[in-house]
Subunit: 413 residues, 2 copies
């Protein structure tokens, strides 16, 4: 880059090569050279069938393609179509709606929801708390808005949620800032697949309530549930624990149509707010609606109309849920196969409970990922290990990959 620059200082950042994109491109080249069957491309964060084709839910696209041109062409209201928000809330909580005041604002996917949480609930220069294994774009989103990420340890020694580290980190942050935005990605955490158990949720709730007793503390618990629809319905039980929290704890939840409706490219989600205090939710709605107008104006109407149509018609909803259940089962079998093979190969993996990814801890992930390309295995190297996308790889390949990873890991010693 030239010494001379036109961008504002805060926007000038070292240019990093996109590792996921780079690995993906290498995988595609290998597929061209050697054929799809011989290559394991576990870099893609979307549901693919066994032949590597993107899975799309027929029942959802039938609705989309049946919309009138006007339904697609018109602007949606700034904060989202009211019925869309209503059904986004229903789709998120199902039978486990917490007590309290709840509202939402439409956003472009879950990413837009994260943006609003960061911008509207922290100040410039603030630190945001998440786990040490985290989806790397959190970093980009924090940094874009001049915030920083600090982390607690996700796992304790038994590979359970590290409540001690969480409590310590949150306490430190509140001491420093009095305001803490906590970004929790559960259930089916990206990249590890971890989900907090109900008893862990209960303890986490107690920790939050304890800290909230200092009336000056403001705790914003942001829950990223991008992969929620690929968990069992009962895993929504923790939502009930978000009931009746003190008013200086605000819960934010990101709804997304990307994975659960295979609407990745249509950019439709919502930020939902839950509070025991009506005024706090009114403020949330006002603040985030203002942000919508101030950032991207309004959301993709076609996606909103589709969700509305699905939830208004029991028959359609049933078809969508059945189609999703089928793919949930495929995903589950792939993950179980990977875990079983890892066990057999003696490959240590992060504790996985659900979702699109399994992670393998390693202290030189970049080198290991490169080494694996020799075996035509393509994965994403993270800070603390490798991310293997079971969502994108056939059962057969999920079976063979762990031994190859273990072998290459050994070869680096």
């Amino acid at each position: 880059m030239s010494m001379f620059s036109m961008a504002a200082n805060h926007s000038i950042r070292p240019v990093q090569e996109d590792i996921i994109f780079g690995m993906g491109a290498m995988a595609e080249e290998a597929i061209r050279d050697k054929g799809f069957k011989r290559v394991i491309n576990a870099t893609i964060g979307a549901l693919l069938d066994d032949d590597g084709k993107l899975v799309t839910f027929h029942s959802v696209f039938e609705v989309l393609k049946g919309l009138s041109d006007q339904q697609i062409a018109a602007y949606a209201p700034l904060s989202g179509m009211p019925e869309y928000i209503k059904y986004a809330i229903e789709a998120t909580f199902m039978g486990y709606r917490p007590n309290g005041f709840i509202d939402g604002v439409a956003t472009p996917g879950g990413s837009g929801a994260i943006r609003h949480a960061i911008w509207n609930y922290t100040d410039a220069g603030d630190k945001i708390l998440t786990s040490d294994w985290f989806w790397e774009p959190y970093q980009t989103m924090a940094s874009e808005h001049m915030r920083k990420i600090v982390t607690y340890e996700l796992y304790d020694e038994e590979m359970n949620f590290n409540l001690e580290s969480f409590e310590k980190s949150l306490g430190d942050l509140l001491d420093e800032q009095k305001r803490a935005l906590v970004m929790l990605n559960t259930p089916a955490h990206n990249p590890t697949g971890y989900s907090l158990s109900n008893s862990e949720w209960m303890k986490l709730r107690e920790i939050l309530i304890e800290f909230s007793k200092d009336q000056e503390n403001k705790i914003i618990l942001f829950i990223d549930v991008a992969y929620l629809d690929f968990c069992n319905d009962e895993e929504r039980e923790f939502f009930k624990l978000l009931s009746n929290l003190p008013k200086n704890i605000l819960v934010l939840i990101s709804f997304s149509m990307s994975k659960g409706y295979t609407f990745y490219g249509l950019r439709s989600g919502a930020l939902l707010g839950v509070s025991s205090d009506e005024d706090i939710i009114r403020e949330f709605k006002n603040v985030c609606s203002y942000s919508n107008r101030g950032v991207w104006s309004n959301g993709t109407r076609a996606a909103m109309e589709t969700l509305i149509e699905i939830y208004k018609n029991d028959n359609i909803r049933k078809k969508v849920f059945e189609e999703r259940a089928k793919h949930k089962q495929i995903l589950k079998e792939r993950a179980e196969t990977f875990i079983q093979s890892a066990k057999e190969a003696g490959l240590a993996i992060c504790r996985y409970k659900g979702g699109f990814f399994i992670s393998i801890p390693h202290d030189d992930p970049m080198r290991l990922a490169e080494k694996l390309t020799e075996k035509d295995v393509f994965v994403v190297p993270l800070e603390k290990g490798l991310r293997f996308a079971v969502c994108a790889v056939s059962l057969e390949k999920c079976k063979s990959a762990p031994a190859l990873i273990k072998e290459m890991m050994e070869s680096l010693k």
Copy 2:
């Protein structure tokens, strides 16, 4: 709102009723009560047919509905599909591409492009320069990002572009900040319909070059061309004047599919950059791609695929252009009728050259807009007058409205 608040201070703002929405709702009520024929609803910023139905280009929606589910479902690359960017550049400049380095980044509509220009090319607290008649969301977007809007006078006494006021304001801003983001909405300015003439563009260019001689000055000229596709092709000639500017003048242009392709609700646009310096454009691309990931991740793929399909196929493009030309003509006739009637009624209006809106100067716009509802005429009150959407009102109503406006104006005296 409660005294107790969870949002960050910078995000808490007085809640204003949405005037456009409020006026629109009143118009709809009047239509229900009295019938569509008797009501003039000139609040809507989209092309409607004479019966008040949203115009959608059949040729464009045919392409959209012909896309495969996979084309719609997949994520687009973070900075946009490369072919989309290529064709967005082609669609914007047509035969009038400036010399220089040009690149672009996909954004959700033109709004997203404005967001990136504001965030990446000004600093917190900075002032941004635009004309005193301006699209009010500029204010929201500036304020969301903790910037301020300052204005020059759009018109001189002859209702031409006020170069003197522009030069003075830009000079003051550069003295103060050394960095100036200028937001120019031309051709077919919203809300007035003004377009800079070529000779005005040449003089504006000279002013910019003069200021650029101070090497410490950085001038970012952002051109909002949301209504470009409803102007004659020759009106793109000014783009050639953006060639070979000094490297401390960066030109940014917002491309949008909202109006030109009736894709309002699909949220697809791009921010384009033009510079004589390759490094500056490389920086632009890096900085705005980073922002994409940091704000909304990626854009609506279905819209990108549609633009690509249109521009790849001469036949389809021809059909789209013909359909657009038909509606351009309808729009032109409506505007000419309004202008002629205004003349006959002795109603002074802002100088209009094209686009969706005509403005009527007034010093108590809110009161006048309210008064007009008595005549079943619904318009948007702005800071400096009324905005009448010729895009949304039949020829017949464009003919009758000016006399009604004049009458109500007189009644307030």
